[in-house]
Structure formats: structure tokens, C-alpha cells
Amino acid sequence: MIEAELSRSVARWCSGASGVTGAAKLSGGASQETWRFDIVHPDGPIGAILRRSPKGYGAAPTRAAGLAAEAQLMQLAFEAGVPSPRVLHVLTVEDDLGTGFIMQRVEGETIARKILRDEEYAAARPLLARQIGGILAALHRLPQDKLPELRRRGATQEIAEFERDYRSLNWPKPVFELALRWLRDHDPGPAAETTLVHGDFRNGNLIIGADGVRAVLDWELAHLGDPMEDLGWVCVNSWRFGEIDKPVGGFGTREELFAGYEAAGRKVDPSRVTFWEVMGTLRWGIMCGGMMQRFREGPDHSMERAMIGRRASETEIDLLRLLAPRGS
């Protein structure tokens, strides 16, 4: 079992480690898995997380940066003071665990609805929008000469890519067409400054504790591009989980987000943020269509996937609220 392989691995790079216990799979599709486990150590157990592509699943999907890049980015973020787990080990062939990495486990909550409703986070919630602004500013300032090889994507290429994804679904949706048209008409062109973009920075990909953000997760969509993309994506209504009047993840206002970002010494371009919020809303809608397609064509013929296909209409109403608001 995986504990035997993990035990052999930790013995090689964690001085004093005598094995692992409590390995449990937290999530996983066919190509990528996340496991939790504890490293047995004389100083007390060390909580750890394994992110890996199992053997035979080396190839990453085209948009993904790959697990090696993810590990490198998390380590860079950690060193720069961005809340991030410390990377303990990048898997090698000798580990016999596939490709990926092992990181320190950060305790806290990632389930968005709990973060938005549980008493435990009540004191942290009003602070999060501003804190997220500061974190994004630090993330956008990570030294570019140390970054791994990443794809470069500006607004114009993203529009073209989403249009291609959407057309390949053969799923004519007048509201999506309207959004694509709007995006082409409002394409802001190349950003004044190209930076690292996290690509999936949102409520659900953050570990939150009573004290605020403890770690930024899921760097697999990281790329080089317009930093305002991250500020727009975190505001997409799908990530407000019902708290629709608090655009930043259901936590707070755009003004707080922008203030936190600018207090950390970076400039916000609000019209670009709006552009990326529209883009992000459409992006999630097209991803819902992709889920429907994968449900139909297999191999994942699950009920959950089928139902995500039926969530595309949520992004349609959100696009209409953005582009054709009523009663205003």
C-alpha cells in the first residue's frame, strides 16, 4: 500500500523519520490525487500532504502548469512570506510514487460554506477581503527570474481559447455568445505589466483559520499574464457561495480588496478587474459544459458531474446581471 512507499520515501529525506501513519486519500480524479498522512518522528508526528499523479499519468492537461512547477511556486511563495505550505520533498523516481511532491500540512478549513457560516471564522471574515488584497500583491511580486517555465496568456489569447473550448462543446448558448462578444469588444489588450498569475485564487482554494488566510493552494493554473485576472476571478459570483453582496469570495467588498492590494504597494485597474470578472464567470460556465461532455462521453459517468453540467445556467444569470442588469 501507499504507506510502505511513503515510509521508504520519508526515511530518505526526513532525518529521524521512522515511517508514516494514517495515510488517507482526500481527493482524486484519474490523473491527480491528494493524500494526507503523518510522518512518525522522535520530536512528534509531522502532518504532511502528498500531491501526485500516479504512475502512468505523467502528462498534465494542457492548461496545467504541472506538479513540479506547482511545488516550485509554493516554495517561492513560502519564502516570500505568502501564506503557503512548506514543500518538504519533490518526488523522484526512487520514491516509486509517481510524479508530484510532499508538503507540510496546514491545519484549517477550505470548505467555502463553512468558512462563510461557522462561528469559528466570524472574527476573521470581515478581515479577509483586505488580507486577500495584500496576499495577491505579494504573489504578483514574486521574482520572475526564479519562476518555473509557465505559459503566457493575456486577455486576447484567453478570449480566443475560451471561444474555442465553447465552440467545441457544440452547445449553442445565446448568453455565452453575448458574453464572448462583450469580451471581444472590451478586450483591454496587453497588461501594462506582466506578472505571475495564480489562476485559481478563490474561496475554496484557501486554507482559512480563526486568524485569517493560512495557505494559498491549487497553483496548477498558474501562468504569466495580467495580475488583474486574479482580482477579477476572486470576485466571480460562483465563489461567493450565496453571499452575493460581498463580491470578494463572500467575505467583503471590492474596495477592501483594492485597498489591501494598494496598501502593499501595487496599483489596481478596476476596469480590467471587471473585464476578468466577466471572463471568469464565462470560464466557469464553459467548464460546467466540459463536465457535461465528460459525463456523456465517460469515463466519469458520475451523478455529480452530470449535475455540474446543470450549473451552467448559474453563470448565465450572473453574466446577465453583469452585462444587462435589470431595473437599474
Binding site: 464572448l180 462578444r181 452575493i244 451523478m303 445556467s313 448559474e314 448565465e316 444569470i317 446581471r321 435589470r326
Partner: protein, 125 residues
């Protein structure tokens, strides 16, 4: 003509059975899967209840907007193409109203508790 009970009554009876008699008996991941299953049956029931009327109204709006006859799928395809080509946009009389009405009808089936939908429903009065 098929006999009764009608499909809406049948799917609803299965959903109610799963919800009331089976859900209390199971836990963990299987309970999560069961909730998804019940949600699907509820969605199908809502669609069977509302689809005939909402489709009829949608076709009527599409005919008026496009000046064409056709099935609901064909007319939606034509509308999508015309928007893509810029021949129809938000300045076109009736387009915004049509997209809003169509989208509200979808949410009523797909996700009637979605917060944006609840807000827009309140606005409609």
C-alpha cells in the same frame, strides 16, 4: 396517450421515498451521493412540471425576435449565430427581455435556491 400516474408523480414518489426512508439510514460518502441523487430527481420533477409552458413561451419569443419558424433547438442556434456575428445585440428590442426570461426559466428548474436567482425573482415581484 400513456396511463397514469404521470411521470412527475412517479419521480416525486421515488425522491420522497429516498429522502424520508433511506437518507436517515446512511452516512458518509454514500449519504452525499444519495443527496445528489435526490437533487437530480427533484430537478427532473421540476423540469417535467414546467418545461412545456416555458418552452412554448420561449419559442414564441424566438420567432418574434428572429422572424423564423423552427424547433426550439434550431431557433436557439440561429440566435446564438446572430449574436456571434453582431447582427443582434443588447440594443435589439426584445433581446435582453428574452434572455432574462429564458434564463429565469432555466434557474427555476436547475437551481431555484441560487442566490442571484432569488434576488432577481424578488425584483420581478
Amino acid at each position: 396517450m400513456q396511463d397514469e400516474p404521470i411521470p412527475i408523480e412517479l419521480t416525486k414518489s421515488v425522491a420522497d421515498f429516498l429522502r424520508n426512508d433511506i437518507a436517515p439510514l446512511i452516512s458518509g460518502h454514500q449519504a452525499f451521493k444519495l443527496r445528489v441523487a435526490i437533487n437530480i430527481l427533484d430537478l427532473v420533477t421540476r423540469q417535467l412540471t414546467r418545461e412545456d409552458e416555458s418552452d412554448a413561451k420561449e419559442i414564441e419569443r424566438l420567432r418574434a425576435l428572429l422572424g423564423l419558424e423552427g424547433s426550439i433547438a434550431e431557433l436557439n442556434r440561429v440566435l446564438a449565430e446572430r449574436i456571434a456575428r453582431g447582427e443582434v445585440d443588447l440594443a435589439t428590442p426584445g433581446l435582453a427581455e428574452h434572455l432574462w426570461a429564458t434564463t429565469m426559466d432555466k434557474l427555476a428548474v436547475d437551481q431555484p435556491n441560487y442566490a442571484s436567482y432569488r434576488r432577481e425573482l424578488d425584483r420581478s415581484g
